[in-house]
């Protein structure tokens, strides 16, 4: 299965389909940004009635390719044919006219509006509420989506919002639909549902679907054929039936990978669960008596509109353990991380660090008490892009690098060099602006700063989001190392695979409260999935 450099459309089944011309044919698509080639002579054909997986790591060029297809980006070279006719797609409107639609990874819904309002938004016709609602209901019934047209979007779960996006997309009866990482915010059950909708769309209605993903499981379960991209090029193309997890993984990453040790990064949830059960690390009595380093008690927080973000949430972390907080995005994880970063004050409840209560209202108090945070969005609260790497490494801890209120530049540089070496941060110099670093290296700067402050607790919120397999591995190893060194780690993640591989104990958050807890060796994926969906199991 390790194939030729640029394989042509595949085997008997596919060529039968291609007897009729492809719904979409991209040929020799090249897109450059400066010296970086995001897409390098990429060919891709989508056929009506088939789901085509586009597999690749973050940065492999798959999103760029899809953005070219829907007219968000213009290619430097190459051609696009729709149903055999060559087309130039100037913008998303032109794409829509050609019957191409995309369900984006980040939803573009207007939260205060209702479902039907969002669905008709942008349509150049007079508003007709009854008619619009009727249409929403019709589409919803046809695909079994169960969406209420009169519901306000802000009150919907991530899964429901995605269904609204799908209705928005299907209302124009597109022949070609692109799904970009569609399961990243769904519970396992919701993902299953999504794939059954995809089946209907493809098999019963003969549309062509491209499913963009970096998760092997998804590709293996849901697609008919798969194109694998790496570094902007197509490295492999085959029928999913002929593919195995290990062949896909090797093509995607470009080196032999161990499915077991990197299962989480590859999105192989069943392997992860298997390992979790085999794992002999049964808690020793010693672990159970390790000191509680972080204790959040009865935390309650509402936002400005009175919506509940945290609802009497209690969670504790002992020294030396990794507690995974699993949950679908938008269930209060961000609020909890903000509280632990001293960014918002609790309405009620308390936070104790190593037994001492810390005021949540005081800027920097939690950091000073020994709570390190790798935030979900490092640009928001993890680093200052306009300062240098060296400055970003000392943000909260100026005591060691200043004398009588004056900064000691030499000391700052020295510390930066040490940390850059210890954490393998690649930058031209300690003075390079943070902005010039790649995402992975920025993440390492944050990690280096937080760990070098020798925290008691490390909160890691979505620490591997957007990183490639190698970087994910590195981050996981560091988190484990921190726990081994006696730090209590709270891992907040929507990636179930990640939570399962790393955690000693797993808590599930839903609507701002902890709805379930289990030790690693007793995890039950089905039960986890139900808890994440708010079903009491």
């Amino acid at each position: 299965m390790s194939d030729t450099a640029r394989p042509e459309p595949i085997s008997a089944a596919a060529s039968a389909a291609s007897a009729a011309s492809a719904a979409v044919r991209l040929e020799g698509i090249t897109k450059r940004y400066g010296q970086v080639v995001a897409c390098d002579g990429v060919d891709l054909a989508l056929y009506a009635g088939r789901i085509h997986g586009v597999l690749g790591e973050n940065g492999a060029g798959k999103s760029t390719l899809m953005k070219i297809l829907i007219g968000l980006i213009q290619p430097d070279e190459g051609s696009i044919s729709i149903r055999g006719e060559r087309q130039a797609i100037a913008d998303p409107l032109a794409a829509a006219d050609l019957g191409i639609a995309m369900v984006h990874q980040h939803y573009s819904l207007v939260e205060p509006l209702t479902v039907w309002e969002n669905v008709v938004l942008g349509e150049p016709v007079a508003l007709n509420r009854a008619k619009a609602c009727e249409r929403v209901v019709a589409i919803s019934e046809r695909y079994g989506l169960g969406v209420d047209p009169l519901a306000t979007v802000s009150r919907l779960t991530a899964g429901q919002r995605q269904r609204v996006e799908i209705i928005k997309c299907l209302r124009r009866e597109p022949q070609i639909i692109v799904f970009d990482e569609p399961t990243s915010v769904l519970t396992p059950a919701e993902s299953e549902q999504l794939f059954s909708v995809l089946r209907t769309v493809v098999v019963d209605e003969g549309r062509a679907v491209a499913l963009v993903s970096h998760k092997l499981d998804e590709i293996l379960h849901a697609t008919d054929e798969v194109t694998i991209m790496r570094g902007g090029r197509v490295v492999d193309r085959l029928l999913t039936a002929d593919a195995t997890a290990s062949s896909l993984a090797q093509s995607m990453v470009g080196r032999p990978v161990s499915l077991r040790s990197e299962a989480a990064a590859l999105g192989l949830i069943e392997t992860v669960a298997e390992i979790a059960h085999d794992d002999p690390t049964v808690e020793s009595p010693e672990d159970k008596h390790a000191r509680v380093v972080l204790d959040v008690r009865d935390a309650t927080l509402n936002d400005a509109d009175g919506r509940v973000l945290l609802d009497h949430l209690s969670i504790s972390v002992r020294a030396g353990e990794i507690v995974g907080l699993a949950g679908v995005e938008g269930n209060g994880q961000r609020a909890l991380a903000d509280v632990l970063s001293s960014l918002v004050d609790l309405d009620s409840g308390s936070v104790l660090v190593a037994g001492t209560e810390v005021a949540t209202s005081k800027p920097g108090a939690l950091s000073a008490a020994g709570v390190g945070v790798i935030p979900e969005d490092r640009h928001d609260s993890g680093c200052v892009l306009d300062l240098s790497v060296a400055e970003n490494l000392v943000l909260a801890d100026l005591g060691g690098v200043s004398r009588r209120g004056m900064l000691d530049r030499k000391a700052i540089d020295e510390r930066a060099r040490d940390l850059m070496q210890a954490f393998e941060i690649q930058a031209s110099s300690p003075h390079a602006p943070m902005r010039s670093l790649s995402g992975g290296n920025q993440q390492r700067v944050v990690l280096a700063r937080e760990l070098s402050a020798q925290p008691r607790v490390l909160v890691a919120a979505q620490p591997t989001r957007g990183l490639d397999v190698g970087a994910i591995e590195y981050m996981s190893a560091r988190l484990r190392q921190a726990a081994d060194d006696g730090v209590g780690v709270l891992l907040i993640s929507t990636e179930l695979e990640e939570v399962l591989t790393l955690s000693d104990r797993i808590c599930v958050i839903h609507k701002g409260r902890i709805v379930g807890e289990m030790a690693q060796h007793e995890t039950d994926i089905e039960r986890l999935g139900l808890l994440m969906g708010g079903v009491n199991a």
Partner: protein
């Protein structure tokens, strides 16, 4: 993925090619020299072109209104630099502009927009006038106390905005601006009362204060027939102190962090209310001091008059804007603005219509702003590209 990492990736890959461990400073110099030139040349070009365009438009305007363009430009130069004693006046005008700009930079670096300097200048001058018309003491004592009073009152005025901002979330852009209008009313009221600022001599000279005592005036020295007041040194030292404090002290570092990323700063223990509030007060205090320097420097006469801040606050704000928040650049910028100001005042003295003179000045200010504005647009676009 996609565009974002495309661009980030480009920079990173070029950085990757260099060994980070080996003599990074040398490499950095090698790398930055050509790119710095690539930055500087277009910038200079933009300024040259925009000023040339402004001058051409001014010439057109002057000649269509029946004047001689060459005479006007020559008068501009005479008034600001060429005629005897003129560059002394220009320097003495630059001093308060620079003081205003220095404080504006402090607030700007903390991410706050104080735009009420005009009122802070006015109140600072009023406070100085109050002390300097009454206090009987030796010269240095009077000067130090009256300048301190100006700075204190300007700072207090900004403190009002600061308290509103950090206790009630009133945007400082609005509060500082509105406080300016109150400042005008207060000083005009003070000019009607003898126990405050009104002249003791007659009632005919309303809106004029009493002359300040002789020993309250800032001393100066003669240089090639120009009288340069010590105020210029006060302003330059103030600017240098602020520049160093921002770049080299822990407080300055935390203040910049607050301005660049308030949430990261908060997590690192920077209190927006304390550091941001202090920055706003400092900016008010330097504006107040600017008013004191203006009054005691002798350029506008020897007494407090209604509206005597005469746009120094607004122009100081522009100086900070043009210097792009850099203290060192504010010094020449303040001088350029002062030259425009004295030049166009001389222009109206030569018989050109005052309004035409104002238009000429405004056009040249606009020309200076074009470069800064273009650069801001470019920077924002680059940031957006990197973030997309």
């Amino acid at each position: 993925m996609s565009a974002a990492t495309g661009i980030n990736g480009e920079i990173t890959s070029s950085e990757l090619n260099q060994q980070p461990a080996a003599t990074p400073t040398a490499e950095r110099r090698v790398r930055s020299t050509p790119s710095r030139w690539r930055q500087v040349v277009p910038t200079v070009l933009i300024y040259v072109v925009s000023i040339a365009v402004a001058l051409a438009l001014c010439a057109l305007l002057v000649s269509t209104t029946g004047g001689s363009a060459m005479k006007v430009f020559s008068a501009l130069l005479d008034g600001s630099l060429r005629s005897p004693g003129s560059w002394g006046i220009t320097i003495n005008t630059a001093a308060p502009l620079l003081a205003v700009a220095a404080g504006t930079i402090v607030a700007g670096k903390a991410g706050l927009s104080n735009i009420g300097q005009e009122g802070q200048v006015l109140l600072g001058a009023a406070a100085t006038a109050f002390i300097a018309t009454r206090l009987v003491a030796s010269g240095p004592v009077v000067i130090i106390i009256s300048l301190t009073a100006g700075a204190a009152v300007g700072g207090l005025w900004a403190l009002l905005a600061s308290v509103m901002k950090f206790s009630r979330k009133v945007p400082e852009v609005i509060s500082t601006l509105l406080l300016y209008f109150i400042a005008i009313q207060i000083t005009d009221f003070a000019l009607t009362k003898r126990w405050l600022l009104a002249s003791l001599s007659t009632d005919s000279r309303v809106n004029n204060g009493q002359p300040i005592k002789r020993n309250a005036r800032l001393p100066g020295f003669e240089l090639f027939g120009n009288t340069i007041s010590w105020g210029a040194f006060v302003a330059i030292i103030l600017t240098a102190v602020i520049g160093i404090a921002l770049a080299r002290t822990t407080t300055g570092f935390r203040l910049r962090m607050l301005g660049l990323n308030p949430r990261t700063a908060r997590r690192a223990g920077v209190s927006a209310a304390k550091i941001g509030g202090a920055a706003l007060v400092v900016s008010g205090a330097t504006a107040g001091l600017a008013g004191s320097l203006w009054l005691t420097g002798g350029v506008p006469g020897d007494r407090f008059t209604s509206g005597m801040s005469s746009n120094l606050g607004w122009q100081g704000l522009l100086v900070a804007l043009l210097a792009r928040q850099r203290a060192a650049l504010a010094i020449p910028m303040a001088f350029v603005f002062a030259a425009l100001r004295t030049g166009s005042q001389f222009l109206s003295a030569t018989g050109v219509d005052r309004r035409i003179a104002d238009v000429v000045q405004a056009m040249l200010v606009l020309a200076l702003l074009v470069g800064a504005a273009l650069e801001m647009v470019q920077k924002r676009r680059a940031e957006r590209m990197a973030a997309a």
